[in-house]
């Protein structure tokens, strides 16, 4: 049997520097990458992706990607679709914040406690989508399931 590369999911955060939800995308994606699903995910750098990074674009053409956007402008999702392929999932932080009844979540520079909890919830959502792509059984995910209040 040939040694095929392991299937991984690419995570693309919008990182929007102007708004706290952009910071939430970064924190959530890093948490999945570093702690929750380190063996199953990689991050793709959105600016590099946009600036013509061949490695980034090639990965997104061949592997499933999850776009994580701060707002409904969906820069990460649109960029991925435009330059490579449609993401298998598109997560929008403001949607999750609305579902959870979040209030103010701090600033782009410093999230408050609610912002940090929102990032955890977004991370869990990313994990769900990642597992769905990799067909993992439920229950392997650490931490609380999303859906609670901020």
């Amino acid at each position: 049997m040939p040694d095929l590369p392991k299937k991984k999911v690419g995570l693309i955060a919008c990182s929007g520097e102007e708004m706290p939800e952009g910071t939430v995308t970064r924190r959530a994606v890093r948490k999945v990458l570093e702690t929750l699903r380190p063996d199953d995910t990689v991050t793709l750098c959105l600016p590099l992706f946009l600036a013509g990074g061949e490695g980034e674009r090639a990965f997104a053409k061949c592997y499933p990607t999850i776009a994580v956007d701060g707002c409904d402008k969906r820069c990460a999702a649109r960029a991925t679709e435009k330059y490579s392929a449609k993401p298998v999932a598109s997560i929008v932080v403001t949607d999750i914040a609305k579902e959870r009844g979040c209030g103010a979540i701090g600033t782009a520079r410093r999230l408050n406690e609610r912002g940090l909890r929102l990032a955890d919830a977004v991370a869990e959502k990313i994990v769900q989508e990642t597992d769905r792509q990799l067909k993992k059984k439920p229950g392997e995910c650490a931490g609380k399931a999303p859906g609670g209040k901020c």
Binding site: S15, E17, E18, R30, T43, L46, P47, A51, K73, A76
Partner: protein, 136 residues
């Protein structure tokens, strides 16, 4: 009324230097020169968001990049900035040997020091532009 100078940090999510670029932009626009500068999101700019482009087009701007690929500088140039002043974190760290920045979401103290150093370099650019009246 003078338009604020657009400051665009790279959005690098993989390395500490990208995080330092982002932090430097906040230090500059919130602590050092809040009246004269504003952060513009790179992703919005490059995806053609009209409001983001209006804040950049025809004016001088500052790019703070974490790596040599200079995505922020390229993004500003393609969005129509008349001149892009570059602050390179990867050069800045050479001028501050001994700093070992770590972390992405939470930079360590060396990462924050590096960000402050880069922000001061950017503030000097703002002051020079202000003297010349170039960002009006």
């Amino acid at each position: 009324m003078k338009r604020k100078i657009a400051v665009v940090p790279c959005s690098g999510i993989g390395k500490s230097l990208g995080a330092a670029a982002r932090e430097a932009a906040y230090v500059l626009t919130e602590d050092l020169r809040p009246e004269k500068t504003k952060v513009v999101a790179l992703s919005l700019l490059v995806m053609g968001d009209e409001e983001a482009r209006r804040g950049v087009e025809g004016g001088e701007a500052i790019a703070i990049d974490g790596c040599k690929l200079e995505c922020a500088a390229k993004g500003l140039a393609s969005a129509g900035a008349s001149k892009v002043h570059k602050v390179a974190i990867f050069d800045c760290i050479r001028r501050h040997r001994g700093l070992k920045p770590e972390g992405v979401c939470d930079l360590n103290e060396d990462g924050l020091k590096l960000a402050r150093a880069a922000a001061h370099e950017a503030a000097k650019i703002v002051d020079d532009l202000d003297e010349e009246g170039h960002h009006a």
